[in-house]
Amino acid sequence: MDKPKLKLAVYWGAACGGCCVSVLDVHEALFTVLEHADLVFWPIALDIKYKDVEAMPDGHIDLTLFNGAVRNSENEHIAKLLRKKSKILVAYGSCAHMGGIPGLANLTIKAKIFKRAYFESESTINPDNVLPQTHYKVTEGELELPKFYNDVRPLDQVVDVDYYLPGCPPQTERLVEVFLAIVTGAQLPPKGSVIGVKEKSLCEECERKKTENKLIKKFNRPWQIQDDGETCFLEQGVICMGPATRSGCGWRCIKGNAPCRGCYGPTSEAKDPGAKMMSAIGTMIDAKEPEEINQIIEQIEDPAGTFYRFSLPGSMLRRKICKNT
Amino acid sequence: MKERIDPNLYNDLEKFGIDVGNWNECYHCGNCTATCPLTEKGSLFPRKEIRFLQLGLKNELATSAEPWLCYYCGDCSKKCPRDANPGELMMSLRRYLTSIYDWTGLAKRIYTSKIFEIATILVISLIVMVLYLNFTFFPSGEGAWTGNDGGVLINKIAPWKRIHFGDWLMAGTLAFFLITNIFNMWLNIIVKDKSVKVPFIAYFTEVFSVVINFFTQKRFNKCDNDNKPYWVIHLFLMLSYVMLFTMIVFFLQWFQTDSVHPVWHPQRLLGYISTIGLFVGIIYFINNRIKKAKENSKYSHYTDWTFLVMLFLTTLTGILLHFFRINGMAQATYITYLIHLMCLVPMLTIEVPFSKWSHLAYRPFAIYFANVKKSALKKQVKL
């Protein structure tokens, strides 16, 4: 054991924290990891200041798991910082991968979000109409707060990313595999690869019965059907992102009788998961007349939310076009 | 206005023509009309006439002046891509129209029956003979018959007054027929054509042009250049004819004298010139028709021949008459005089109102009416 220990960092940007939890979820395996690696930065668990990171020499960190999207100037700053300091930067989790749930904020704009959060939400009491500021004078001096961006961006839109490890959150087992791979010095996949996943999409794992009869006359929400727990959701008219989503999660949602929502993102052959799924769904709609087609499509109330639930900022269109964006 | 197609018209008209090709073959390329140097807007022929014929639009044909405006240079027939012979159609149409204008129906019979024509000529000749024998002094006076009393005394045998009376009688009758026929022509060409309303003044303004055309036949001259000698000879013939006609009908007293004038005397000079004009012309036309040299002489209807032959005989007997007379051959003169009349009278009676001669009158009038119509149309357009 004369090999020096690897240096690890974990950071969260705009995220729910689930990814960090998934790291914690490695349980005992953490000890194995720590045998080989030191955690040099992990705000949720360790008290290491930004300036400590800044002080590190470039490329000092061997592996950084960056989870969460880039939402504000702080996220961006740290992303860039970590990029500089890390040998390998992994976009960890759906948010870093393609924007994730926070990415749905791209369907609106900052002003509206603030309006909702600071004025309109039912639980808000804000009689002074205070809004977040980037600079605020207090008696101790001037506070500088991160700037809240208009758009949510996945990590690779801000910095160069070496690997992606998707999932909301990523399957812990996958993380362990990755860890072990790095630690054991296995041959690393080419840069830009999505790791901790399988090549094929979810249906491959899914054990529900699939046939070619995917003809949809009516779209159903899961509660609208009597799910027998065996038939492919699509064949029951429920939009399941499974075919357009990488497997690796162990079809957890479907096992729980909920259709896949696509947190693992598209396969490497699909550029835009929502588009691919829309294309497939379009194929399945069982109608020829424009009126009938439209009538069926009307049943999909929120195409963006349905097909891009976890991937809007990383998709082709990235965001909704709003006035004054 | 709707017009009913008359499929039989073609057969009717065929009787006026010569069996040379088939007007039904025309496929209306318009080459003939465009070739014709005489066509102009408002008077397009011969294609349109073929069309009227093919479709049996009798009224259209009867009311058109165009056949008279054609002088048969024959270019249209020569260049016709289907050998439909439009030139000959125009010729046949002139015959047809003559029969249309003629209210007596004689023209139709003459043009459609060879036998009828010859029979009429013979009958008239005989009538002339009988009349001559009854009303002249011949052969009552022995001397007159032999010319013993010194020279040829034509006025004794056939006193000019009586002959003149016959002249006038015949001229009047023929003029009556001719004029009524021309009236008919006017009715057809102008009155029946509802598309144009002719103001009265137009009849006066156009008179002059017709007179000029009559004496120069400049329209004929506009026809093909190849036809120059044709035009000259025809003009000369026509003028000669008119001259002789005038002398006989109006100045017989002066023309038919018992004394022989010197050669330079205008009476003789005019007579000679006219006779030469007539004779040369007739020989030229007969020769043309025999040789079928030109498009317009290729096909001869029997009425064409009758006209030429009768005119020829009349002229020939006239010349012989003169020859015998100046040579004092009284007996021969008198007989020739009779024969001359026997040729001349039927020639005029048949030809003038009912047959080929009539073109002398119809042509200028057709031009006249056409011009009148044209000027009327111009005014209409201006309005």
């Binding site: 090549e199 094929k200 999409s201 979810l202 249906c203 491959e204 699939k210 046939t211 070619e212 009869n213 995917k214 003809l215 492919c232 699509l234 499974g242 075919p243 357009a244 497997s247 598209p266 396969t267 490497s268 052959e269 699909a270 550029k271 691919k276 799924m277 294309s279 497939a280 379009g282 194929t283 399945m284 | 206005m1 709707k2 017009e3 009913r4 197609i5 499929p7 073609y10 088939n22 039904n24 073959e25 025309c26 496929y27 209306h28 349109k48 069309r51 009227f52 093919q54 479709l55 049996g56 639009l57 259209e60 289907r82």
Partner: protein, 580 residues
């Protein structure tokens, strides 16, 4: 990965392109794009010397991708692919930019047209980088031929092939062969007997050892591909026969126009207004008579019924003029004294001996009237008692400019030809295209009038466009020639640009299976992946876009190729924006 070395050739096409596109500048600018090694402009790239330049450059500069910007790829893509082969490159390392039909010929602003050309060429350059080597494949040809339609075209083609000793399946929807020709009495312009012409053909077909005849039969669909088609023949008596064959000739012919909709003619209302085909029957039966059994004194023939008129069909039916003349002659024989009126628009007597026939007819006292088939149809009305005829036709006669009344006791409408009502089904069953008039589209209107865009399927006779007997026969035999050539060779090359499934990505969702119109995709239950039968696949690419995982690749139309093409187009547009 190999280094991409792209050669770009921009064609002047004489002045066709160069007048509207600044080809020299374009060539210079394209040279600056990444991977472009050579960029040239040339007067006629398609010419022999033009192709020689490409070959020479490939060898000298070690090019491995070629882009030609010239006419439509529909015109010359094959030519240049062959050029690449000659130079030792895979033919699919080639891309064409259409800067003539879709640029220089349709625009008037030289600056814009040049910009567009740049974008299209840049797109092609981008695309060609992603091109992959594809290998041509050949399949064996089943020597049997399937012919649909037992009219004169079908019979001629069948005999031509069968006489070569090759098997023919001939199916005919009705119970008898000979089609329309069997209903004809005489043929124009030489007035030969149609019956005597068609009878030996039918007899020979019936007794031919190589021809298997299916009367009263139809097919629903043809499966397979060139050389290896199969289908089931459904006979009206319920029998079904499965057949396999290598080529198909469609000779379904056409049907006659139904003139009931033309109000002016009163067809269906006036008893003695009949169509040409009804009249033909009268001739065959030897007697021309009106519905009350009288001998008609006046017979009118009206041309262009349903043809050359935008309310019905804009096209000319090609045969009616001469057929009308034929009738006129036949009527003249039967009724020497009758009045015959032929009401035409343009007399189209264009074939060998036809103009002479027209001349001959015009000598037989037939009245020709010209009408305006486009805007001013004649009107047929019942006559009054005094008119001495049954009907009157009121027509604005064009050559006199007069309105004319034509008496008629019988009116023959020269009905035009139109596609059969089931033309579309057959087109679908076989997989060929139709033009706006529902006639089948030939592969090339000039140089390939018998083939279709579907390999192994040929069209002959009236189903391609109205045509007369000699031309139908010639076309049928031309189709036979094409088939005999492939049979003689024994094999034929098939579609290369098919779809294929990347088993590494296919998750087995089976979305694609119903997408394929040719049932070329099936599910391999063992491997749990979809499989494309590449000989059945015609390369439409619908499955490729329908596959949610991206496992199906449409060869030569891959996602990457098209996406890069889009990038290429937009790159130039952006550049220009920046410049502006």
């Amino acid at each position: 990965m190999e280094e991409k070395r792209i050669g770009v050739y921009i064609c002047w096409c004489g002045t066709n392109i160069s007048l509207m596109v600044d080809v020299e500048t374009v060539a210079k600018e394209m040279a600056k794009l990444p991977n472009v090694v050579i960029s040239k402009d040339y007067k006629y790239v398609c010419s022999d010397p033009g192709q020689d330049i490409i070959i020479k450059d490939i060898k000298e500069h070690n090019l491995n991708r070629i882009v030609v910007a010239s006419c439509s790829p529909r015109m010359h893509e094959l030519t240049f692919r062959k050029t690449l082969v000659k130079a030792g490159l895979n033919p699919y390392y080639f891309e064409m930019a259409n800067i003539r039909e879709q640029d220089s010929w349709v625009h008037t602003d030289r600056v814009e047209a040049t910009k567009k050309a740049k974008a299209l060429i840049a797109a092609a350059i981008n695309r060609v980088s992603f091109h992959e080597a594809l290998d041509s494949r050949s399949v064996e040809i089943n020597p049997a031929t399937f012919i649909i339609g037992g009219g004169i075209s079908g019979l001629s083609a069948a005999l031509e092939i069968a006489d070569s000793g090759k098997k023919v399946f001939l199916i005919e929807r009705s119970g008898r062969m000979g089609g329309h020709v069997a209903d004809f009495d005489l043929t124009f312009p030489y007035m030969y007997s149609a019956q005597q012409m068609i009878t030996p053909l039918i007899q020979r077909v019936k007794s031919h050892q190589n021809i298997e005849l299916f009367l009263n039969s139809e097919i629903k669909e043809i499966f397979g591909y060139i050389g290896n088609f199969e289908s089931t023949i459904h006979s009206k008596d319920g029998k079904e026969t499965a057949v396999k064959f290598g080529n198909v000739i469609i000779a379904t012919g056409l049907k006659t126009f139904d003139p009931s909709n033309i109000e002016n003619y009163g067809y269906g209302k006036l008893p003695d207004v009949i169509t040409s085909f009804e009249f033909e029957k009268m001739l065959l039966n030897g007697i021309i008579k009106t519905k009350d059994g009288k001998e008609p004194k006046n017979i009118a023939i009206i041309h262009c019924v349903g043809s050359r008129n935008k309310n019905y069909h804009e096209y000319c039916s090609r045969t009616c003029c001469m057929t009308a003349l034929k009738y006129a002659n036949q009527i003249r024989c039967e009724l020497p004294k009758a009045n015959i009126f032929d009401i035409y628009a343009d007399m189209r007597s264009f074939g060998k001996g036809c103009e002479e026939f027209y001349t001959l007819s015009s000598r037989r006292n037939i009245k020709f009237l010209m009408f305006d088939q486009e805007n001013d149809l004649p009107k047929i009305v019942s006559a009054n008692s005094g008119d001495n005829c049954d009907m009157l036709i009121e027509i604005n006669e064009k050559l006199t400019g007069k309105t004319i009344e034509v008496p008629a006791d019988m009116v023959i409408l020269m009905v035009g030809m139109e596609a059969r009502e089931n033309a579309k089904e057959i087109a679908h069953a076989v997989g060929i295209s139709m033009c706006g008039n529902s006639f089948y589209i030939e592969r090339h209107p000039k140089l390939d009038p018998v083939a279709t865009t579907t390999n192994g399927v040929y069209i002959a006779g009236g189903c391609q466009a109205p045509k007369e007997i000699p031309d139908s026969v010639a076309q049928a035999k031309a189709a036979a020639a094409r088939i005999l050539a492939t049979i003689a060779k024994g094999s034929v090359e098939v579609e290369v640009t098919t779809a294929c499934v990347n088993e590494d990505f296919c998750c087995g969702c089976q979305t694609c299976i119903k997408v394929c119109p040719y049932t070329a995709i099936s599910f391999d239950a063992e491997k749990k992946v979809s499989v494309v039968n590449e000989v059945l696949c015609k390369g439409c690419g619908t499955c490729g876009s329908g596959c949610p995982t991206g496992a199906i690749k449409c060869k030569h139309f891959t996602d990457m190729q098209i996406l890069s093409q889009i990038e290429g187009i937009m790159k130039i547009s952006h550049l220009e924006l920046q410049e502006a």
